[in-house]
């Protein structure tokens, strides 16, 4: 049964031409009067992609989802789903399903009726409808709840019902609008895993909006980072994490955030010499990057911003890859977090977080050697914030 279901859900996608993106957004703009919410958005996903739209609140990610879903009218640009232009198509005719932040269950209908609503609209015969509802309920483990009213369900159960309603119709594309934000922290993690499992099992194409970068990192096959209605970067979680396109992405993705500091970069042959000012009249700290990106060469001698993930600043411990590039640093604050110990250091006019081992025996006020992993350095233009 379950097997049938799964293959059935997959079957539609597999017939599509592989090269055609399941969704493509071209030069999409959305304004309310003079207020531009979305600026020239272009993005596309392939069948089976799990695309996460992430960004701070007000960045336009939910509006973009609304445009894709057809709940919001676009000002200009094009939307294609499965190759068909749906820019001005009714949400009903886009072959998509959506899971809302508030779940948006119909309070006057039972769980079964909620799940079967889309089928009822399509006038699917009752018997067939019931069969599908049962399959989905099994899949989501909510069979015992089918006769209940939404008001009688817990948050997690409602969440499942909302997903059930989306799944039962087997649409081309699923939209999730911050589906976990109303759940408590623990449930959120459980559901996150479950959504991921569901995605893998059904190979569904999903667009998922969240402001939580951890959710984005864990779930996505492809992340779109947005700010002020503009796409900052599109990439796999790895790309986004390792090579953020700009300071904003660097700062937004990852926790604790990437450290951004002022530095002066000069070229010494093919090696970049990075000079970082320190406080209290100590001599500047100098790192050497043997393989800097090409952009740096042109900018040598200039003041730049460099970005270093906390895990690029570690204690000597076992991982002394570039043992030569370590410096004694004064630990301003030490925050043990179990698996890791975070330490705040003042460097380059900023508070910099270093990620030490969980069992590192250090205290605030101590001076310990910190090892810098120069291969992980990102360089940014201090004016535009763009990656160099």
């Amino acid at each position: 049964m379950m097997h049938n279901m799964t293959t059935h859900l997959q079957s539609k996608g597999s017939t599509a031409v592989p090269s055609t993106p399941i969704l493509s957004v071209k030069n999409l703009n959305k304004s309310y009067g003079d207020l531009k919410i979305l600026k020239d958005i272009s993005v596309s996903i392939k069948e089976g992609d799990f695309l996460v739209l992430v960004g701070p609140s007000g960045c336009g990610k939910s509006t973009l989802l609304g445009c894709i879903g057809g709940l919001t009218e676009v000002t200009s640009g094009h939307l294609r789903i499965g190759g068909a232009d749906v820019t001005h198509t009714d949400p009903a005719k886009r072959d998509i399903a959506m899971v809302f932040q508030s779940y948006a269950l119909f309070p006057n209908m039972s769980v079964a009726e909620n799940i079967g609503f889309g089928l009822e609209v399509r006038k699917v015969p009752k018997a067939q409808r019931d069969e599908k509802i049962k399959q989905v309920a099994e899949l989501l483990k909510i069979e015992p709840l089918l006769d209940r009213a939404p008001a009688q369900l817990s948050g997690g159960q409602r969440q499942r019902v909302a997903m059930g309603r989306a799944l039962v119709r087997d649409p081309k594309l699923f939209l999730f609008d911050e589906p976990l934000s109303n759940l408590d922290a623990k449930l959120r993690v459980t559901m996150r895993t479950e959504i991921k499992r569901l995605h893998q099992r059904l190979n569904a194409s999903i667009i998922y909006v969240t402001h939580d970068q951890i959710e984005a990192m864990t779930l996505a096959t492809k992340i779109v980072v947005m700010k002020d209605g503009v796409i900052q970067q599109v990439g796999t979680p790895r790309e986004i994490y390792d090579t953020p396109a700009n300071i904003f992405v660097a700062d937004f993705m990852g926790s604790p955030a990437m450290n951004i500091l002022d530095a002066k970069v000069t070229m010494d042959g093919s090696v970049a010499r990075i000079e970082i000012a320190r406080e209290d009249g100590q001599p500047p700290l100098v790192l050497h990057d043997p393989a800097p990106s090409a952009g740096i060469v042109k900018r040598q001698g200039a003041a730049l911003k460099i970005g270093l993930r906390p895990e690029a600043l570690t204690d000597l411990g076992s991982r002394a890859v570039h043992a030569d590039q370590h410096f004694d640093c004064l630990l301003d604050v030490v925050e043990p977090a179990g698996s890791d110990t975070f330490a705040v250091i003042r460097l380059g006019g900023a508070e910099v977080t270093a990620r030490l081992h969980g069992d590192a025996d250090v205290r605030s006020g101590e001076t310990v050697p910190i090892c810098f992993d120069v291969t992980k350095i990102s360089y940014f233009d201090p004016q535009s914030g763009e990656r160099l």
Partner: protein, 279 residues
Amino acid sequence: MQRSLFASIALYSAALLLTLFTLAPLVWLLLMSISSPNDLTAVPLNWWPNEVNLSRYGRLMDLNEGSGQRFLGALRNSLLTAGGATLIALIVAVPAAYAFSRRGASLALLFAFLATIMMPPITYVLPLYEIFGGMGALNKTTTLVIVYSAMLLPFATWLMKSNIDVLPVEIEQAAFMEGATTAFTLRRVVLPLALPAIAATCMLSFLVAWDEFFYALIFTSDLSAKTLPVAIADFSAGRVTDYGVIASVGVLATLPPAILAICFQRFIVSGLAAGSVKG
């Protein structure tokens, strides 16, 4: 919080005074309707009837001998006009309210709707009289139903709009997403959610239509269409020496709205409050 004795006395006195002020005229109307004519013309009055006299109610219900034809005819007309107008107003107002609330229809238009009820009926009555007269539609219940539904419509639209505004929009979006048409969504999702508001709007509209006098006075001329208010006005100004009869007509005409108002009080208050608080 503990109240002082003085505050308690003041509070209960105020409550008592309010009860008296509210109930006295009603109780008196009821007493008049069952008092003998002699008790009613005593000076000073016999407040409590010497005997209970229900004969007037009997006469009002008697189709053959008494005033039954007049009274019951008017009652029927009032029920038909108020009920019909409420129904039509609701059927027309709900989609309009939805357009204002969810389809971005200009609020200026809603204000234009409301402006139509701000005009005194006297502004419309003569042209309407001529139009309906020209169509041979005066003195017809249907005509009153149409006029009343126009009278109820703006308020009903506004009330429904304010109430739909506070419904979670995502639920409707979910329905659209699931492929439902607007009509289907309205019927299957919005209306069930707005049921309390609909009940309130129905009650209020019904009461307003039940109360209407001016159009009815001018547009109706006989038993086939006269509503209760007009019948009562005629009744009370004619050759009536027994005030108890007038009182009993008054009591009977008050019963339907009073029962509705008490039974659906919660709806009325919440519906109105939503309307006015939201503005």
